[in-house]
């Protein structure tokens, strides 16, 4: 009786106070995670698809959207087949998950993961894998073969995403190191940003890149996509608390602040240097802020979020307008410039701005200097692993499809009509 009461009592307290406590299903936590998972889902086939599609030329808008849409579909399937167990199966040597949950074997509607059904946890995590790989597509649009892309998606989730997810969240070595990554800055954004960069370099530039104007088919759709991404990101970061509690609330608010500040700081930078504040800049800035705050969302306070966002907007702008030009690769929609760079900045910044009273771990500013090294190490390992493995996986996909690049006449005609036999608009 006593024990029963204790269980009841605790299950009504803020969940943060209960970490590690065994307990039953909490309908409030489950309700939030159901909504959050739906919100994260929307990010890929709608948010990212429009964000990217709007930036591609109108003759390639459907192909660009299709890369996100199909990435979502394939990732969802791979995830329940073997991705989940590779990431969250029992730990094998701190490197990868075991295979006991292949095809979700043994998980019933009653199985719990913390206070929510494990099947919901599976779904939630699956949406992360999907958006990670979809982000990378931004680097290679308008010239990658559709078939190469589909194969790349399957391989990348399996050999690149699943291991890194295991290291950070599945009980792997980065988790044991104490690396902080609240909602996937390393796993999702650095990982995909690097994958994009590697592919962009291997694949080469688009015809006439840098010589002719490549006008975005629709900045309106890009802004709408950014808004949907932002909406979904509340599920992404807020849901990473896995509970409807103070930590989720913090992550929510802080995410909003960082995105807002970064949108403003990107636009302000543009305004200063180029005299025109663009909507494309505001949208890209918001996404930059969202990326940078992702690893930090449960660990920093409003002030930290403000500074992280401020830098993120400027850094994203720098990545796109300065770095890319200088280094000369064609990271078409800046998966690296926006996601890669800001993922790195976010991971480091988490080490700097973490606040003990928020997430339990103090950061550099509170005297915990070693955390900076832990974070940096996690970044470096992810960068190196992702670069090498993404390259390998890309090479295999390229081989299997007789080269990764569409023929020149397809590139000129546009992939929508040549590959899909469709046009984005017939107005």
């Amino acid at each position: 009786m006593e024990k029963l009461l204790r269980v009841i009592f605790f299950s009504l307290l803020p969940a943060t106070a209960l970490a590690g406590e065994t307990k039953g299903l909490n309908t409030g936590d489950t309700a939030w995670m159901l909504a959050a998972t739906a919100m994260v889902m929307l990010m890929t086939p709608a948010g990212l698809a429009l964000f990217y599609g709007g930036m591609s030329r109108s003759k390639n808008i459907l192909n660009t959207i299709g890369m996100s849409f199909l990435a979502y579909c394939l990732a969802s399937v791979v995830w329940v087949l073997w991705g989940y167990t590779l990431s969250f199966g029992h730990d094998v040597g701190e490197v990868i998950g075991g295979l006991e949950k292949l095809f979700l074997k043994g998980i019933t509607p009653e199985t719990l993961s913390g206070t929510i059904p494990e099947l919901l946890f599976v779904a939630f995590q699956g949406t992360f894998a999907a958006i990670a790989v979809a982000i990378a597509s931004g680097s290679v649009i308008e010239r990658l073969k559709f078939s190469t892309w589909l194969i790349f998606v399957v391989l990348w989730i399996t050999f690149v995403y699943a291991p890194v997810a295991h290291w950070v969240w599945g009980g792997g070595f980065l988790a044991h190191d104490g690396a902080l990554d609240f909602a996937g800055g390393t796993v999702v954004h650095i990982n995909s940003g690097i994958a994009g960069l590697v592919m962009a370099i291997l694949l080469g530039k688009r015809r006439h890149y840098g010589k002719k104007a490549f006008f975005p088919s629709s900045v309106v759709l890009t802004v709408l996509g950014a808004a949907l991404l932002w909406f979904g990101w509340f599920g992404f970061n807020g849901g990473s608390a896995l509970s409807a509690n103070g930590s989720a609330a913090t992550a929510f608010l802080i995410t909003n602040v960082a995105a807002s500040v970064a949108a403003i700081s990107w636009m302000a930078t543009e305004w200063m240097f180029l005299k025109k504040p663009t909507l494309l800049g505001a949208a890209s800035g918001a996404v930059s802020g969202l990326v940078a705050i992702t690893p930090a969302a449960g660990y920093v306070n409003v002030l930290g979020a403000f500074l992280i966002g401020l830098v993120a907007g400027v850094l994203g702008w720098f990545g796109v307008f300065v770095l890319k030009k200088k280094l000369g690769y064609d990271d078409s929609l800046d998966a690296f410039g926006v996601h890669g760079l800001n993922g790195i900045w976010g991971a480091i910044a988490t080490g700097i701005f973490a606040v003990k009273s928020v997430g339990g771990t103090p950061g550099v500013l509170e005297g915990n200097l070693p955390l900076l090294w832990v974070q940096t190490k996690a970044v470096l390992i992810t960068v190196v692993f992702s670069a090498v493995m993404s390259g390998v996986v890309y090479g295999i996909a390229s081989l299997l499809t007789g080269g990764a690049r569409v023929p020149e006449d397809v590139e000129i005609e546009g992939l929508d009509s040549a590959v899909h036999g469709e046009r984005g608009f017939n107005l």
Partner: protein, 112 residues
């Protein structure tokens, strides 16, 4: 008959149309074109790269008129389309040998 073809600035279309109507020229056909000339296009910035957009949106107005009205048409267009700034556009006059009204089969100037 002559075809009087004018390339004008888009926002002048309404004025030109009204002026022509007042001048008794009640039929015309317009289309959206892009022009390249002395007037330079603007610079667009997109994702860090700068591009000059050479072609400037213009409207082409075509009126086929009897020979007697050619001068009037030219003057009317000139007055209503002029802003005095570079890029105001051109008027070209060329011969038309026949005109037919599809509905009735009328030919010649009566078909206009």
């Amino acid at each position: 008959m002559k075809k009087v073809e004018a390339i004008i600035k888009p926002f002048k279309l309404d004025e030109v149309k009204e002026a022509l109507s007042e001048a008794g020229i009640t039929g015309m056909t317009i289309s959206e074109v892009k022009g390249f000339g002395r007037q330079k296009g603007h610079t667009e910035l997109y994702r860090g790269a700068e591009y000059v957009v050479d072609f400037i949106p213009k409207i082409k107005v075509e009126v086929v008129v009897p020979d007697s009205l050619v001068e009037k048409a030219i003057e009317t267009i000139m007055e209503s389309a002029r802003t005095g700034k570079i890029g105001d556009g051109k008027i070209f006059v060329s011969p038309v040998e026949e005109a037919v009204r599809i509905r009735t089969g009328e030919r010649g100037e009566g078909a206009l």
